[in-house]
């Protein structure tokens, strides 16, 4: 079953099996589609990151001398829209997920390969429309499009940006359908649900959110667009409408959406830590159930974004309680990852550095969520930099680090080459330090009362803002480094063996890079996930 190839041998693989631009643009191979997505979301990440850098430069001084307020408002809006919908949501699922999921299940491809390609095209169309709205002049409603500002007062290309997001939503929905059906129907013989790697469980949970939450966003954006165009709608108090209805509908999607952004990251980390501890993930069943619990309970907590919005006191209480409940499975996962390292055989490789960094930063971000879930505490810190620090700890300190960790972890499989380890470790440390310097001061700023979405602020906030901007520049360097050396390694890196990390998982039983159809012979699985013991001979361990 395992085809061993000598590193350096140029056998036929998915990269060289067909040539020409059309063989890429019309591919239905999940691995090539993963690379198409990687190219797109990387470009969009750096665009969103540029907006962030401009914002941080503006915030070096209290009076905001870099750009005028209207421009600043557009910057943070576009930063949010791009990073949320055009980077974070598709990132791990559509790059690493697309590449690894079928292989981890022993399958030849996803259930619907053509639909997968269509997903990418729809994504690109949505991105094009959103980018067009930026370059035509931008939107300044905030990524949250609150009414009545977005429907009746904001200048700018609101409808166009909303349409761009609307279109990209279909890409999410199709991906979700593809993943769910693949996991249900395309596992190879012997691979029962509870033998699947946690990567697959987390992708499944994320996909549930994709399909259930995204349609609500779609219709909400349609309603906002209609109200903006026709000047009559369901959110307008003049007609008896309620602006809070928008918030309920919007957050009903957007809260589960943040779990779309973090569950795949947890998926990646759940593969990296056992690999570089060389022992099974601790508490497999608890982690699998926790992934599902996060997805399900995550649908019940949206009101915690609205504690001061004018919601009823009793609704606020219910949402606060449920928000604490959803913290429990996340805590379980953190403890399980940590326990996996206990008495393991730890290798601090680049992916492991990113994964350990994830655990630490996700924990801090999650714990700041405990503050926000306490309604009384939230009153003071909501809509301040405390919240910004909270979600950046999870989305950047968490998801982006996991994305980078996963890219490094599966890079040998994807490219057939090894990346330079020293630069890898250096970047991981740079990102970690830069990140903390950027965002930890923001917790303090928020507690002091600095509001979010402010292009100019009270002078006493300056020192911490300067620290934050300094961190942002270091963070930027930390992101540019991997971009450079990963591209470099594609051509000049050391050829990679099939299983450079000597880990379990079906994807590692193929050559690096894999052939077009992944497995020459369909694997049959007779062991649990992360079963190093059962595979010790094959892996030359012990």
């Amino acid at each position: 079953m395992a085809t061993h190839t000598l590193p350096g041998a140029t056998t036929e693989n998915y990269l060289n099996s067909e040539d020409g631009i059309l063989s890429w643009l019309l591919t239905t191979d999940h691995k090539r589609i993963a690379l198409l997505y990687t190219f797109s979301i990387t470009a969009l990440f750096f665009l969103g990151g540029t907006f962030a850098l401009l914002m941080r430069l503006q915030l070096l001084t209290p009076d905001g001398a870099l750009v005028d307020l209207e421009t600043y408002n557009k910057l943070f809006t576009m930063h949010g829209i791009i990073m949320v919908w055009f980077f974070l949501i598709p990132s791990i699922p559509n790059t690493i997920g697309n590449f690894v999921l079928p292989m981890a299940l022993g399958a030849k491809d996803l259930a619907f390969p053509k639909l997968n390609l269509l997903s990418w095209y729809i994504f690109m169309l949505g991105a094009a429309v959103a980018l067009y709205s930026i370059f035509r002049g931008g939107v300044d409603t905030g990524w949250t499009f609150y009414t009545p500002l977005s429907t009746g007062y904001a200048m700018g290309y609101v409808v166009m940006a909303a349409i761009g997001v609307f279109i990209s939503g279909f890409s999410s929905i199709l991906t979700g359908i593809n993943f769910i059906v693949t996991i249900h129907r395309m596992r190879v013989p012997g691979l029962t649900w509870f033998r699947m790697p946690i990567f697959c469980w987390s992708m499944y949970a994320s996909s549930l959110i994709f399909v259930l939450a995204t349609p609500v966003l779609a219709i909400t954006l349609v309603l906002v667009s209609l109200e903006r165009i026709f000047h009559i709608g369901v959110f307008d108090p003049a007609y008896g409408g309620d602006p809070l209805l928008f918030q309920h509908l919007f957050w009903f999607y957007s809260h589960p959406a943040v779990y779309i952004m973090v569950l795949p990251a947890m998926a990646v980390v759940s593969e990296i830590i056992p690999t570089f501890s060389r022992k099974p993930l601790f508490g497999y069943k608890a982690v699998a159930y926790s992934s599902m619990a996060i997805a399900i309970v995550g649908f019940l907590v949206w009101g915690h974004h609205m504690f001061v919005a004018g919601m009823s006191v009793y609704a606020a209480m219910a949402f606060s309680f449920l928000s604490y409940m959803v913290a429990i499975p996340s805590a379980i996962k953190v403890f399980n990852w940590t326990a996996t390292m206990y008495k393991g055989s730890i290798e601090l490789s680049t992916p492991m550095l990113y994964a350990i960094g994830f655990v630490g930063l996700f924990t801090i971000g999650g714990m700041s969520g405990l503050f926000l879930a306490a309604i009384g505490i939230d009153v003071h810190v909501t809509d301040t930099y405390f919240v910004i620090a909270h979600f950046h700890y999870i989305m950047v300190g968490g998801s982006v680090m996991a994305f980078l960790g996963g890219m490094h972890f599966w890079w040998p499989k994807i490219s057939g080459k090894m990346y330079p380890e020293f630069l890898g470790k250096l970047s991981a440390i740079t990102v970690f330090l830069g990140f903390n310097l950027t965002f930890f001061p923001q917790f303090i700023l928020g507690y002091f009362g600095m509001n979010r979405r402010y292009g100019s602020y009270a002078p006493e906030f300056q020192d911490l803002n300067v620290l934050s901007t300094a961190g942002a520049t270091i963070l930027g360097v930390g992101y540019i480094l991997p971009l450079v050396y990963l591209i470099w390694s594609w051509k000049y890196g050391e050829p990679a063996p099939d299983n450079p990390w000597r880990t379990t998982g079906l994807e590692w039983k193929t050559p690096s890079p894999p052939p077009k159809h992944n497995f020459e012979v369909t694997p049959v699985v007779a062991w649990k996930a992360y079963d190093f013991e059962a595979q010790r001979e094959e892996l030359h361990l012990g």
Partner: protein, 214 residues
């Protein structure tokens, strides 16, 4: 192309796997559609709770007969669609006629619907286009009509897509659908029935509440 489509797609191991995957995919898609419409039903429920008088008044302005006819029309189309699936699964070529009939009946629904829309427009009941209502709660009545046009409009768009898909289905139908492989008909039929069910709920919430006030 016929042989390739007739045969197993390369990612699947058995025809059963292919069929079950395609059907599961369609069911999940239908769930996403339920969420899409569900959000609008939630908005409707909220406002109906707040403005019962205005919403009942709006409902009394609906064309009850046309709505009833349309409901019957769609249910008939679901029947013809079921027959299409039945005969396709048994390899009987007449299923193609039932597909065509389904599409035609769907178009009949749209014809009646757009006539209704036009009548509403003429009666000054199209929000944003000269809406007039003489009751004291005219603004909330306008809200009712806004929801009516959005929700039935969304439904009509879905029905139109369904009609297009059914017509497009004629191509593979004429080439390679037979008793061994009728999954696409089954799946489009699921979608069609779902759109029908949505209409029944729309009819119930928009047309019936104010019927006694006519």
């Amino acid at each position: 192309m016929a042989e390739q489509s007739l045969a197993l797609r390369e990612q699947f191991a058995t025809p059963e796997q292919q069929r079950e995957s395609a059907t599961l995919g369609m069911w999940i898609f239908i769930v996403t559609e339920a969420m899409l419409f569900g959000a609008t039903f939630a908005a409707f429920a909220g406002y109906h709770h707040w403005y019962p008088a205005a919403f009942n008044r709006g409902s009394s302005e609906m064309e009850l007969t046309m709505g009833a006819v349309n409901t019957a029309v769609l249910i008939c189309s679901s029947f013809t669609m079921s027959l299409a699936e039945y005969f396709a699964a048994r390899g009987k070529p007449r299923f193609v006629w039932f597909l065509v009939l389904t599409a035609l009946i769907g178009m009949l629904f749209l014809g009646i619907k757009f006539t209704e829309y036009y009548m509403h427009y003429k009666d000054h009941k199209l929000p944003g286009f000269g809406f007039q209502d003489s009751s004291p709660q005219s603004r909330q009545v306008q809200l009712f009509f806004f929801l009516y046009f959005v929700m039935t409009g969304l439904h009509s768009v879905h029905l139109l897509i369904g009609i297009v898909l059914v017509l497009l289905m004629l191509i593979p139908a004429l080439i390679y659908i037979d008793e061994n492989y009728s999954t696409p008909i089954h799946n489009i039929s699921l979608y069609w029935h779902f759109v029908d069910v949505i209409w029944v709920f729309l009819y119930a919430i928009f047309y019936l509440p104010g019927a006694h006030l006519k």
